[in-house]
Symmetry: C2
Subunit: 301 residues, 2 copies
């Protein structure tokens, strides 16, 4: 199962109703952050995200509404005496931006920070539970989409059986890896008693700022959930093109052509207080479309 | 009259209840911003601050909770096609931090940005209505306090008389400068009919992050309102010293020794949801003390 929590869904110019882009992707023990617009930390507080569990951060591109909250988050980790390393995947220059701000405050972070510079479509990371790839978008500056593949070999908790045994929730990821559980009195709970083979794995594709481009389709085809930016409505299709953004209808077209199962749209222009119209327009092309809401967790199962 | 609006009142580690430091000081036509912690733009939206009227920004020091919202604000000015220049007064390094972020986004701002580097106690700026000085605090890194002096020569609108004449609100600053008003039909409204001599001018002193230090007293004496940071309560006086911060009692002591008329305290540690105790402790030393509230405008008249 993949759980996606939306922290921010607005485009660049601030809105009273939404915050800039940030998303949490949880797959078993992995908690990933995609983009980190300003105020992301406060969204995490509000929506009760355990931010100290985040280890890998993916930054799509270096427009401020996608990363101006990052330096604050990294600083807070250090103020909280974090020791676990942080890994950031981002276009060039981010490392220099972070370093000059650390230097100005005359401090050192309490943890190691690794910044991987993205330069081409590749597999960025493999963990026990997840494989993450990146692919290029068509934006004003280098911008990357990300796809999160849940690994097939993880097993699925059997909800009917798990209640029979007193297994702590913290051990569930081990069960998903196929381990048996040994109770404190020595009793062994066999893995197959409480889990099922996980025949289907899932994937989530994140397509941040981009013009409409079918070049991304090979990278996102058959996504269980495809997130695609949708800054404008159809009547502003020329503005969308000129500003390297997309409309709701264009996002829906990508969902349709990539044969994705569900489309989520976001990155709405600040001029819209309500975003129902985006969803309505997307549904004219692709029925299973939804405008994201901040604080909502979408389960991909 | 000086109007002070509090946008943020929290210390470095994020709190759900408050935002990091930012304040608006309005004196006649001048609208100044002091510090610009993360989320300042959203606080401006919430509290209906006309951010495009801001021309001068004063940054006390380069710890993130005092400036991480600045790059977002500057970017928004440009997205809004601002053409009026912006003047920033800050310790060294800020200019480099801003420049590398502009460069990474491959854009140019739509307006001219001037960054003045503060290196010693001096008069930073004189406008038609205001004189602003800076003075050193005792903090981990170079940190500056600011004092805003309303200029004596401005006249005061007479509320009883002004209603008699149909003078547009936008002309009030000219009246405060002593000008007569010429109506569209040629009638002259003499300045002295609608204004009063402004015998008293006012001043507001901002003392950001600092250990208790009496060295600031010559710079802030006889302030009408003194804002002094108060990160901790008295039982954490040693922690305050070690971290280069102050307690509420220490802030009150500075107000007392400087013979200021009123004390405002802020920059509260995130562990406190409520801040009444800070005010209570300050009042044991200096009765006219108040813990600031975000969104509140304090009139100094």
């Amino acid at each position: 199962m993949i759980a996606l929590t939306i922290l921010g869904s607005n485009a660049a110019y601030p809105s009273l109703f939404r915050k800039p882009t940030a998303q949490i992707v949880s797959i078993s023990e992995d908690i990933f952050l995609i983009d980190c617009g300003e105020c992301t930390q406060w969204q995490m507080l509000q929506f009760k995200i355990r931010k100290n569990k985040i280890k890998h951060i993916f930054i799509s591109h270096l427009h401020g509404d996608h990363y101006f909250g990052l330096i604050g988050l990294l600083t807070s980790f250090s103020l909280h005496h974090r020791t676990d390393p942080i890994y950031i995947y981002a276009p060039p220059s981010l490392c220099a931006i972070i370093c000059c701000q650390i230097k100005a405050s005359n401090t050192n972070f309490s943890y190691s920070l690794f910044v991987y510079t993205i330069t081409n479509a590749t597999t960025l990371l493999e963990t026990n539970y997840t494989t993450i790839t990146c692919f290029p978008m068509d934006h004003k500056i280098p911008c990357w989409g990300f796809r999160f593949f849940e690994k097939k070999n993880s097993r699925k908790i059997n909800p009917d059986k798990i209640r029979t045994y007193n297994i702590p929730f913290s051990f569930y990821p081990n069960l998903q890896r196929g381990e048996d559980y040994r109770a404190t009195n020595g009793t062994i709970i066999k893995n197959e008693w409480v889990t099922l083979p996980n025949s289907s794995s899932h994937s989530y594709s994140f397509c941040g700022d981009t013009r409409y481009t079918e070049s991304i389709i090979p990278f996102v085809e058959h996504s269980d959930v495809l997130y695609h930016e949708s800054t404008y409505l159809h009547n502003e299709i020329t503005k969308a093109y000129n500003r390297y953004h997309s409309t709701a209808v264009q996002a829906a077209k990508i969902a349709q052509l990539s044969q994705s199962k569900k489309l989520l749209i976001g990155h709405f222009s600040n001029v819209f207080d309500q975003v129902d119209l985006f969803e309505t327009e997307a549904k004219t092309i692709f029925q299973n479309a939804e405008a994201v809401k901040e604080g909502t967790t979408y389960l991909i199962d």
